[in-house]
């Protein structure tokens, strides 16, 4: 395979950087689109119930997509080689679930206008951890540091502008203001710290597809525990309400789309690091707004926000360009190699194999093809989706189908480009 060997280090570095940028941008497209199916859900159920249903869909997708791309033999072989990383992946899923729940309380107590900017600083928290724990940006030139920091800050600022453009009413409740700010800050801290296990896994040579398979166990388990503790235990409406079944398809679909975006985000974290990968995937706000405004007409009665939309979009694109153009120098790469060596020393890993995996070369043996049960898993998942679709209720809601078509084409084209790039350069490693 010409793409797997015989490539000069500098050329390889640039190709994996380009691949990481493609994955980060594509993650933004898919994570933003994940909001669209959930807009069709209007059940009156609690946020815990909605989150649990969506995470159940995420769980299904997280087991089926890696099966489709690599096969369970490859995933389990990778997990077997990296058993020490399983607790890290579970912990990352637990962090996600608690952070997601905190945002619900933040919105309740201070409104989206205050809560959103606070938790959206998670990428800046991630940059700090990347620098402190993995030597990211260490040894980078002043220009690259400026590009990453200013670009990331611009993306946060743009996300805030776009968030404000879609807010129709602000309902901050002064009496709970401290609680709300606490919850939003907590979500930022948790989501920012969730990238520590991500990066840890990839500097140890783990495949992102294996990581997400275990991540989702922590995610679903914690979400289930939160429903049982905070939402009525076994009597919670999500387990009994007849309103659940008709909306389950849309939540599963939202979860499925979200997982595709998250897989691209994981590959971006692997090939760019936390500091560059996360700000790029945080451009999802732009795509979420595109679906809301163009398909669901959310800005139709709010023409005054056009300046915020255009300004926010431009700032976000400029920020993404700045981050994308900060290619790691040899000195910075040397520090990343030191982080890899440290992991290999600590866990007695084969440093050559880990470096090969980190560079996107596969460590799979020739036996790692797909097994019959892989096809069975994919068949069962398809059956679940067909079954849920048959019972889904289509809400009477005004939608622009022309824009739905256009954005779906963008979605599919971006995924096709990204999957082709991942396959050609790394064979999904």
């Amino acid at each position: 395979m010409s793409t797997q060997s015989g490539t000069a280090p500098g050329v390889r570095l640039r190709s994996t950087h380009g691949l990481g940028v493609l994955c980060g941008v594509c993650a933004g497209v898919w994570l933003g689109a994940a909001e669209a199916p959930t807009k069709l859900v209007n059940s009156g159920l609690s946020p815990y119930a909605i989150s649990l249903c969506m995470v159940a869909g995420v769980f299904v997708a997280r087991w089926s997509l890696p099966t489709l791309l690599k096969g369970t033999r490859s995933v389990f072989a990778d997990l077997g080689r990296n058993r020490q990383l399983i607790p890290f992946a579970v912990l990352a899923g637990m962090l996600w679930a608690v952070a997601n729940t905190l945002t619900v309380f933040a919105i309740r107590d201070v409104g989206l206008a205050i809560a959103f900017p606070l938790w959206n600083t998670n990428s800046l928290v991630g940059i700090l951890w990347g620098r402190l724990l993995f030597g990211e940006l260490k040894g980078a030139g002043a220009a690259n540091v400026a590009k990453v920091l200013l670009g990331s800050t611009a993306i946060v600022a743009a996300a805030i502008m776009l968030g404000f453009s879609t807010m129709h009413q602000q309902s901050a409740h002064a009496t709970h203001a401290v609680n709300g700010i606490l919850a939003a800050s907590g979500a930022s801290l948790l989501w920012g710290s969730m990238y520590i296990p991500y990066r840890k896994a990839y500097v140890s040579g783990m495949n992102p597809l294996s990581f997400v398979t275990i991540f989702t166990v922590g995610e679903l388990g914690t979400m289930l525990a939160l429903v049982l503790v905070f939402d009525g235990g076994t009597h919670a409406a999500v387990f009994h309400s007849p309103a659940v079944m008709p909306m389950l398809f849309w939540l599963f679909l939202g979860g499925f789309v979200w997982v595709i975006g998250d897989i691209f985000q994981q590959f971006a974290t692997k090939y760019l690091g936390i500091g560059r990968g996360i700000p790029l995937s945080n451009t999802n706000q732009l795509w979420g707004l595109a679906w809301g405004a163009l398909v669901f007409g959310e800005l139709a009665h709010n023409r005054n926000s056009l300046v915020l939309v255009i300004g926010g979009s431009l700032v976000m694109i400029l920020g993404a360009i700045a981050v994308s153009s900060a290619i790691a120098s040899e000195r910075e790469l040397h520090n990343t190699n030191s982080a890899i060596e440290r992991e290999c020393g600590r866990y007695r890993l084969d440093s050559d194999a880990v470096k090969r995996a980190f560079d996107g070369h596969s460590n799979d043996s020739h036996k790692s093809g797909r097994a019959w049960w892989d096809w069975l898993i994919l068949f069962l998942v398809t059956l679940v989706f067909v079954g849920l679709a048959a019972k889904a209720r289509v809400p009477s809601m005004a939608m622009n189908f022309a824009w739905t078509g256009v954005l779906t084409i963008v979605l599919v084209a971006s995924a096709a480009a990204c999957l082709w790039g991942l396959w050609k350069t790394t064979r999904f490693s």
């Binding site: 058993r83 020490q84 607790p87 890290f88 912990l91 990352a92 637990m94 962090l95 608690v98 952070a99 729940t101 905190l102 309380f105 107590d109 951890w129 724990l133 609680n179 709300g180 606490l182 919850a183 907590g186 801290l189 948790l190 710290s193 969730m194 520590i196 296990p197 840890k200 939160l226 905070f230 020393g345 600590r346 866990y347 007695r348």
Partner: protein, 37 residues
């Protein structure tokens, strides 16, 4: 103090700052959730 090469894999994880920091953040987050619920 034991070097990591003498520790079991589980002890390596439990003494790894890359595990302990997110774990501490998770505990803080859970405490925040209980406080704001």
């Amino acid at each position: 103090m034991k070097s990591t090469s003498q520790m079991s894999p589980l002890m390596c994880v439990l003494t790894d700052t890359h595990f302990l920091i997110p774990l501490a953040v998770f505990v803080i987050g859970l405490a925040m959730l209980i406080a704001v619920h």
